[in-house]
């Protein structure tokens, strides 16, 4: 992969980070802010994984296994326990 693509990706990541901080500053509705930030986070992760870690030039099988395992297991873990976090607050005893 040409050096140019690395440094173009670098620029993209910096601007994305600045955009996220700017979005964080403005008072957006909570859910929209959350969605925007998470989406930007995944895009940045996609850039780093795809370009810097050459996932894009690997076989599709490897790329799918890596991304689906990490994102799938993390999502299963978080969405499996998040309802109980809210329930712990709702039924809080003290």
């Amino acid at each position: 992969m040409a050096y140019k693509t690395y440094w173009k990706t670098w620029l993209g990541l910096l601007t994305l980070t600045l955009a996220m901080i700017a979005a964080g500053g403005r008072t957006l509705p909570r859910l929209l802010l959350l969605g925007v930030l998470l989406a930007a986070m995944l895009v940045k992760a996609g850039f780093i994984g795809g370009v810097f870690m050459h996932l894009r030039s690997e076989t599709r099988a490897l790329m799918l296994i890596v991304t689906l395992t990490i994102i799938g297991v993390s999502a299963a873990l978080f969405f499996g326990i998040a309802p109980d976090g809210m329930r712990a607050l709702a039924l809080s005893d003290r």
């Binding site: 712990a88 039924l91 809080s92 005893d93 003290r94």
Partner: protein
């Protein structure tokens, strides 16, 4: 070349013995299982749980028995050392025979959960009916503190830092509602055929509020206020045990649930108020 793998007369006899043992196991499971192991029921929602258990014991019992009989029959029939009669199943036969367990389990297990299990589950964890008596039970390392709201129907505030030997719940005397709260240790008195709501709390570690006869089991989590409800259907004294490992005295956290007639319960309640 394969010296120790040739079919010998001796190994054939062992095959027969194993077949018989597998048959006996299958029959033992169903035979022992047919005795009445569940403690006699004393609650309304328990009927749903018992029907679930009995449904499973019958259907799964049948599956287990038939499985053992089939395995025993295979061992008996194909253990005689005769040459291999059926070698390779075609993809179609494999798929067809594998469909048998898929359909059976889908109907018995998944069907059991969807048809019987979840309605019972939804009712147990649903809203308690109106007009239910509320009792607060707080587990602590190795005892159950029981509290009734008293005449005002409101529970007084409890503060952990106020806990002393004679004030195990840390009742805050400055709160007016706590004046008429009735406190008891390891004894719960409830009227029969009237829904009882238990507010389950814990002072220190995990405990589990377990009434075997009433099919009630719910963990008491420190820092959480968990509600459960049941309707006792039989008067009498029922033992309360702890079902979540809570330390050295886990095995002796014994409480008693007295299910009284309505007027006996009202009489006891009046006694506590002016007592």
């Amino acid at each position: 070349m394969q010296t120790s793998n040739a079919p010998t007369k001796q190994s054939q006899r062992e095959g027969r013995v194993l077949a018989v043992v597998v048959w006996l196991i299958g029959m033992a499971i169903v035979g022992i299982g047919s005795r009445r192991w569940l403690p006699p029921l004393a609650s309304e929602h328990g009927a749903g749980i018992d029907s679930m258990l009995n449904y499973l014991m019958i259907t799964v019992g049948a599956l287990v028995l038939s499985g053992h009989l089939v395995v025993g029959w295979f061992l008996w029939r194909f253990g005689r050392g005769q040459p291999v009669s059926f070698r390779l199943a075609s993809w179609r036969i494999e798929r067809r025979w594998s469909l048998v367990p898929v359909v059976l389990l889908a109907v018995v297990a998944e069907g059991g959960v969807l048809a019987l299990g979840l309605p019972v589950w939804a009712k147990i964890y649903g809203e308690p009916p109106a007009g239910s008596l509320t009792v607060e039970v707080t587990g602590e390392q190795f005892a159950w503190n029981v509290r009734y709201a008293g005449a005002d129907g409101k529970f007084g505030r409890t503060l952990p830092k106020r806990i002393t030997l004679d004030n195990p719940l840390g009742l805050d005397s400055s709160d007016p509602a706590s004046a008429d709260d009735i406190i008891a240790l390891n004894e719960i008195r409830v009227p029969v055929n009237r829904p009882v709501r238990i507010r389950l709390r814990s002072k220190d570690v995990l405990h589990s509020f377990y009434l075997p006869y009433l099919r009630v089991k719910q963990d008491a989590v420190p820092g959480m206020n968990i509600e459960l409800w049941f309707v006792p259907t039989r008067t009498g004294t029922f033992e309360l045990a702890c079902a979540e490992l809570c330390g050295l005295g886990h095995y002796e956290m014994r409480g008693l649930l007295f299910v009284l007639l309505e007027e006996q319960f009202q009489h006891w309640l009046k006694e506590q108020k002016n007592g």
